[in-house]
């Protein structure tokens, strides 16, 4: 999986490409742990994300919780049908801001 990080001021966009599963989730987790502290708006661009497993959901949930703690918005964008289905199935649609 490739993560493309784009930061303009305190607005950060993470574009994910490939498969977010047990093997690749730690990559995103490291990114979330280290670079969210000064972000006031986080955008996850999932346009190129093909697949997400429960390990991937866990990291997205962690990011959402971190942003909640910082009182800052997090937006999930451009999720494809497969990924969107997973969000719906797991009830993530209730807690994420999906555009």
């Amino acid at each position: 999986m490739t993560i493309t990080k784009n930061k303009e001021g305190t607005r950060m966009t993470l574009a994910l490409e490939g498969r977010l599963d047990t093997t690749t989730a730690p990559q995103l987790e490291a990114e979330v742990k280290t670079s969210l502290y000064d972000v006031t708006e986080l955008v996850l661009d999932l346009e190129m994300l093909e697949y997400i497993s429960s390990a991937g959901l866990r990291v997205i949930l962690a990011a959402q919780k971190q942003m909640n703690k910082q009182n800052s918005p997090m937006v999930v964008m451009n999720a494809n049908e497969t990924v969107m289905e997973v969000f719906e199935l797991t009830g993530f649609t209730d807690i994420l801001t999906i555009q």
Binding site: D21, T22, S53, S54, A55, L57, R58, L61, A62, K65, E88, L89, T90, G91, F92, D94, I95
Partner: protein, 462 residues
Amino acid sequence: MNELDYSAAFAENEKEANLYAARCMRVLAAVIAVIWILNILGLFIVPDVIMAIAGAGGILLFLLPTILLRKMDRDSPRMKFYILLCCILGITLLSAALPKHAILAWPAPILLGSHYYSKRFSRGLLVVSVICMAISLLIGVCWGEWDSNLLYAVDTSGPRVVNFNTIRRVVLYYILPRSLILYGLTTVCTTLADRTRRLLERQVRDSMDKQQIASELAVATHIQTSMLPCIFPAFPEREEFDIFATMEPAKEVGGDFYDFFLVDDDHLAVVIADVSGKGVPAALFMVIAKTLIKDHTQTGAAPDAVFAKVNQLLCESNDEGLFVTVWMGVLELSTGHLSYVNAGHNPPLLRQAGGEFVFLRGRSGFVLAGMEGTRYRMGTLKLSAGDTLYLYTDGVTEATDTGLELYGEERLSAVLNAHGDHDPEPLLSAVKADVDTFVGAAPQFDDITMLGLRYYGRRILQ
């Protein structure tokens, strides 16, 4: 660390080293044979008698270890002494007959000795080699092929004269410096032997650690499997339903679980769940989640209230940010009334007697342990005699073939419908077989868990 454990590894190494030494010495024997033939053909000019003694003796001594390994107890700890002694004696003979060239062979025993990873053994070989080299060179000066390299030590212009002065100079200019060089070489070899010895010791330690982890994991696997009800038929005395379930972890321990139990005489609870992630953390979380769900369900509380409470408890101590998707249904056996809650889990399939399996879709609630304060909506259904409920985790629908294609919901409902009238056990076997065929040689990524429940209702109750 137990000394005995190392000694087993070193004994194993010694046996290997013996075989390698014997193999190297067979090559040396072949080299001597070639030299002998070239001498017979007149390419070399060693006197025939000397060549015959050196050739025959050398070949015999170099082949002796191979014979010893076949004929004697090859695991004997003395074997290495016999083998290296043969090597030194063989070179001694060569060196006595042909001192000029055989001198190059003296490092061989010391190099072979470094395979045994023992400083003492290498040093012992050095001492024996130096003594044998001195003897062989003195014999060589008296009877061997005249060595013209000894220009300063002996007079090679006239007939051979060996007196005290010759011996003194041979020792001083010839034996001493070569012994020193052998000593230097031995230092290189003992350093190598020492380092390799430490590497081998570390390898033994690592593999013991690994073994311990593996055996602990095996125990963990056993504990986890024995936590799931696994004796079938599970309720032989109950004729209102038939139930069967399987869990196959992708790793030693998994995050999936199923559960079923009687809440009271008239209520059966069925649970299927999948903890995010895999391995030990997921397994530990699974144990907590399973216990909490069962404990709270057995109070007789409604499934939605159970989930709200369990979610709260799981959120309280969840630094790792794990979560679990759960589907639970409580069936009233006398009426077929089923109340169920879904916390982010894959929708089960229901087959009404004589019909097709259909997904029980409907808006799912958020996963357990995801967010504090989550509320769960309860759905209700009425099962009739002959209805079958099939629960599964995403290990089934996301089983992946070598081309990274997912098994998917369509294949799942197709295979279920193909075996629609089966009892739970053969039904689950049919699904498993179909998934296995689809996956082929691709590795199993996720735990595969399924539960089948068939309701017979009051039909047999009477």
